[in-house]
């Protein structure tokens, strides 16, 4: 097994340049891949799930070569992976490390839970305002109804 710069064994190979998304809850790994559209990138994508983690017990990790995310883009995953850390790798070294943050508004990825909302009846891109970041409550820009954490569905 390969080792990282501190000599720790790596369960998922290191990348030369790109982004590592670490500490993803296991059940959200595939969701994160989908939200970030990683199923469509041309570069190398490595991922692992159910890996041992001191902090979380078990975790998931995704490594994307040659991809550097804008904050708006990466923060979308905060809905499914609020614990995620983002590590920017340049030349095999950690260039930057930060936590994801729940954004103030969310477009496209979430479905409005109200079946009578226009976004569920016409081809309209959804848009929500995050009115509660702790409990995760989203207010639909269109029907103005609130979608609570337990009702959040992704496209």
């Amino acid at each position: 097994m390969k080792k990282d710069e501190t000599g720790k064994e790596l369960q998922v190979s290191a990348i030369e340049n790109g982004t590592v998304i670490d500490h993803i809850p296991c059940e959200s790994v595939f969701q994160v891949i989908k939200i970030l559209g990683l199923n469509e990138v041309e570069d190398q994508v490595l991922f692992g799930t159910n890996l041992e983690s001191q902090k979380m017990g078990k975790k998931g990790i995704i490594k994307v070569s040659n991809k550097f995310f804008e904050p708006d883009e990466i923060n979308k995953i905060a809905l499914v992976a609020p614990t995620a850390t983002l590590i920017v790798i340049r030349n095999f070294r950690v260039a930057d490390k930060k936590k994801v943050e729940i954004p103030d508004s969310i477009e496209k990825i979430v479905k409005c839970f109200n079946p009578n909302c226009i976004t569920n009846n016409e081809n309209v891109t959804t848009r929500f305002f995050v009115i509660d970041k702790q409990d995760l409550r989203l207010k639909c820009h269109y029907c103005e109804k609130i979608t609570a954490k337990d009702n959040i569905w992704f496209y």
């Binding site: 009578n116 226009i118 976004t119 309209v124 009115i131 207010k139 029907c143 103005e144 109804k145 609130i146």
Partner: protein
């Protein structure tokens, strides 16, 4: 307010609400002013409505505008499967302003984003009905002499009643004390209550109408629809506790006014109509002045 769509009551500021009410008062004094001659108002009613549509059309006529549109989606291209987007984009080419009612929540917001002309929401599903709200505010101010510091009761279906949602939100600007009377199944939704809480205003919830009558300045009645109940027995159990009868008003304040967005079914008995505290028919008339004020402001002639 020129060219500014009115979708949700909160799209306009408190100051803009007052401007509309003041202008409506002017139209009440001089209702016939042909200041919109040559203008075309489209009224697109994807869902039937008598009062709202006719009062808009009356308002437009009194201002000299021409009205085009449909009163039922069965007689429009929706029947052929046309999307709302396409209908709105097409009508944008024919009219200077669009007034629309649609059964889906959020439809008016969406229309305002695709239309090249301003859109007035005349009701989108159970969401918003801002022009009704402005006429309710007008009626409250006219009968109470003010909007501030009033005790206002909302009675009936507070869950699905869009007129209630919009009015509660608007009144949060005026230090209102809210008395919310409804069956447990039809309580005010949290998405609306949040506005009351944000302003730290007081609200009280009741399940009995009689308890609230002596306390309030305005009694805002709404219709409880049988189909809102999952269990018809629940409906039978509650329906009589939300009917206002004339003798129940004996304990009410002298300045009390009874309002109702109409249509009424049986929630206010006919004997109340003769009581000077009944205000619902005058309230409906005020709708024309308020809609005149809106058309004139948004089209930029006032």
């Amino acid at each position: 307010m020129k060219n500014k769509s009115l979708v949700s009551i909160t799209d306009y500021t408190r100051e803009e609400h007052i401007q509309i009410l003041n202008l409506a008062a002017e139209f009440e004094k001089h209702p016939i002013q042909k200041i919109l001659e040559g203008t075309v108002v489209a009224t697109l009613f994807f869902e039937p409505s008598t009062r709202t549509r006719l009062s808009f059309e009356s308002a437009a006529s009194r201002l000299g505008a021409k009205v085009i549109g449909f009163s039922d989606s069965a007689s429009s291209s929706v029947q052929k499967g046309e999307s709302l987007r396409d209908t709105i984009m097409t009508v944008s080419n024919y009219a200077d302003i669009i007034v629309m009612r649609h059964p889906k929540e959020g439809s008016a917001r969406f229309a305002s984003e695709v239309a090249a002309v301003p859109v007035i929401n005349a009701g989108d599903g159970s969401n918003q009905h801002p022009t009704q709200t402005l006429l309710d505010m007008y009626s409250i101010r006219k009968t109470q002499g003010k909007l501030d510091d009033l005790n206002i009761a909302f009675v009936g279906d507070l869950k699905y009643g869009r007129t209630v949602h919009s009015l509660v939100m608007a009144l949060c600007n005026y230090n209102t004390t809210f008395h919310l009377v409804s069956p447990n199944d039809l309580k005010l939704p949290s998405s609306v209550k949040i506005h009351i809480k944000d302003k730290n205003l007081h609200y009280y919830q009741y399940t009995e109408l009689v308890d609230v009558i002596p306390k309030v300045d305005v009694l805002y009645m709404t219709r409880i629809q049988k189909e809102r109940f999952s269990d018809p027995i629940d409906y039978e159990r509650v329906k009589n506790s939300y009917i206002l009868k004339n003798h129940m008003l004996d304990t009410s304040k002298p300045n009390l006014k009874i309002m109702h967005p109409l249509p009424r079914v049986n929630e206010i008995t006919i004997d109340v109509d003769k009581n000077p505290k009944a205000y619902y028919f005058e309230q409906a008339l005020n709708g024309v002045f308020v809609r005149q004020a809106l058309l004139a402001s948004i089209l930029g002639v006032k």
